[in-house]
């Protein structure tokens, strides 16, 4: 019968199952132990992996700290540098004082020079008067010479007249003796006058020569004075140049100020960049801390896995 065929198979199958079941249980238990061992190995791998990650993170944290320390030192150096610029500005501002002193000195010098010029002009005016005086003197001397000549003329005439008188007196005889004596006296006076006048003439001549010498000295002095006055004008030009240079220093000081300020601004903006960098590193440090916090929960899970898996082999051993 067909059903008989089926019946036989069932019986055979049941028998097969019964035969296999006893060793199956042991194999199953061994498989469990094998699985437990494998899980344990994988768990150890995970833990080692985790350990390595933690070391890396730790090193990262140290690296970040070291960078931030370097940043802080660099920041300090920059601050020191900034202070130097302030020092430069302070020094440059002293230019102003120097300039003011120069201008003051130049002013004083200019005033003195002006006074010198005024005095010189007064002297020159005096010289001019003196020159005029000498001219007058010379005219007077010439005038006197003329008068001397006239006097000599008159004296000569007087002499002639006296001679004539003597002659007339001689003609008059005895009545004319008194007159002849007077006439002789007059002739002697006229001769004395001529002698005196020639002495006076000699003195006047000498005076005239001296005054010529003096006049020529004065001309030299006047020429020298004129040269001085020209030099004074040149000095004024030099003083102007000095003042222009001193004022020029102002522009230089301003340039120095501007440059120092510009450099200081640059440093500030670099400083801001550093502050920026530091903030980013702080954020990074925070992130690392969060990663670390996650790590702590992981190790707890590893322990749970380990606790469970390690119980399987003893359980299996008990069952056997």
């Amino acid at each position: 019968m067909i059903t008989d065929l089926f019946k036989k198979k069932d019986v055979v199958e049941v028998q097969k199952v019964q035969v296999v079941s006893a060793p199956d249980d042991g194999e199953r238990l061994e498989s469990l132990v094998y699985i437990a061992d494998s899980i344990e190995k994988f768990q150890k791998d995970l833990v080692q992996n985790e350990l390595n990650s933690l070391m890396e993170i730790h090193d990262m944290g140290e690296a970040i700290n070291s960078v931030m320390e370097s940043n802080a030192r660099l920041r300090e150096q920059m601050d020191a540098f900034n202070e130097m610029f302030e020092a430069v500005n302070t020094s440059a501002s002293k230019f102003e004082d120097v300039k003011v002193n120069i201008i003051k000195s130049v002013d004083n010098a200019q005033n003195k020079v002006e006074e010198l010029k005024t005095s010189s002009n007064e002297v020159r005016a005096s010289f001019d008067e003196m020159t005029q005086g000498f001219e007058n003197f010379k005219s007077a001397v010439d005038q006197i010479s003329d008068y001397m000549k006239q006097i000599i003329g008159i004296a000569t005439q007087t002499n002639l007249l006296a001679l004539n008188a003597s002659i007339e007196a001689a003609r008059a005889g005895a009545a004319g003796k008194g007159f002849a004596v007077v006439a002789t006296e007059v002739r002697e006076l006229a001769d004395e006058i001529k002698v005196l006048i020639s002495q006076v003439n000699a003195s006047i001549e000498a005076a005239g020569q001296e005054s010529e010498k003096l006049s020529s000295s004065m001309e030299n002095s006047i020429a020298a004075m004129d040269r001085s006055l020209r030099e004074v004008d040149e000095t004024k030009d030099t003083f102007k140049e000095i003042i222009e240079s001193a004022n020029g220093a102002n522009a230089v000081q301003q340039e120095i100020n501007d440059t120092a300020d510009a450099a200081s601004d640059e440093l500030s903006s670099i400083g801001n960049s550093f502050a920026d960098i530091n903030n980013k590193y702080d954020a990074l440090t925070d992130q690392l801390a969060r990663v670390n916090a996650l790590g702590t929960t992981k190790s707890s899970v590893f322990e749970h896995i380990d606790n469970l898996v390690s119980q399987i082999p003893p359980i299996v051993k008990d069952r056997k």
């Binding site: 350990l51 070391m55 322990e303 749970h304």
Partner: protein
């Protein structure tokens, strides 16, 4: 578990283990998550527990308690807190011997000595009263006491695993901590019918030395009827910890 029919927030497991506490708590974790249970307990003395009059040396005795009159909540109190943010990554550990070989790649004994200033093995063992180690789990700290020195490593009262992130702890004022625990419990419960707590023996020794034991017990007693034991290792939900107080409060 089905007989007790636990609801949310009204059931706790109170347990005692003879040893390998962490593994036991991990095993319980499945139940805890499924039924929303809370766990508190301790390690038994001399590696023995008893259940229904019978003594066991290789097991865990536990009771599943459902509060029919209200809620139940477990708490943990640490008088030790992290000293700084410094992370100490554990490696070369042996979980079966509770051995800790290295911290941050350097011998654990030396690192601990450098961090605490302890100079001899005896100092190190005593130092745990001031500076135990702690394992960070998120923001929570699980205290790990130091038992002994072994070569260049340390033996702890609780297993350490490779890649655990540890940190050095320091003591806060126990009375301040107790006061904040009491106020935390008070703000969670309007009415307290009883508290059962376990204090680690190391805590007991510290409080006794500071003469603050009675004050402390008084603070706990201010919450309501209380009783408790000294333990050798504490259980709090799925954490096995040292030098801690763990308690369960019944409404």
């Amino acid at each position: 578990m089905e007989k007790v029919a636990p609801g949310k927030e009204n059931t706790a497991i109170i347990d005692f283990c003879t040893g390998n506490d962490a593994a036991v708590l991990t095993t319980l974790r499945g139940l805890v998550d499924r039924y929303n249970l809370q766990v508190m307990g301790a390690t038994g003395d001399a590696g023995k527990v008893s259940c229904n009059g019978k003594i066991y040396t290789d097991g865990m005795a536990y009771a599943v308690v459902r509060n029919e009159g209200g809620r139940v909540k477990t708490y943990k109190e640490n008088i030790y807190v992290p000293k700084d943010n410094r992370q100490l990554v554990a490696s070369r550990t042996d979980r079966t011997k509770y051995y800790l070989g290295e911290l941050n790649g350097r011998p654990a004994k030396q690192v601990y000595m450098e961090l605490t200033g302890a100079t001899t093995d005896k100092d190190i063992i005593n130092q745990t009263f001031k500076n135990p180690l702690g394992k960070m789990v998120g923001n929570d700290v699980c205290i790990m006491s130091i038992k002994d020195v072994s070569g260049t490593g340390l033996i702890l009262y609780r297993q350490a695993n490779d890649s655990d992130i540890l940190t050095l702890l320091e003591m806060r004022d126990p009375m301040e901590v107790a006061a904040s625990t009491v106020s935390r419990i008070k703000s969670d419960f309007n009415r307290i019918s009883g508290i059962y707590s376990v204090n680690c023996i190391f805590r007991y020794l510290v409080l006794k030395e500071r003469g603050e034991l009675n004050t402390y017990l008084g603070k706990i007693a201010s919450l309501g009827t209380s009783c408790g034991l000294i333990g050798f290792g504490e259980h709090y939900n799925s954490q096995f910890v040292n030098q801690t107080m763990t308690c369960v409060v019944f409404e």
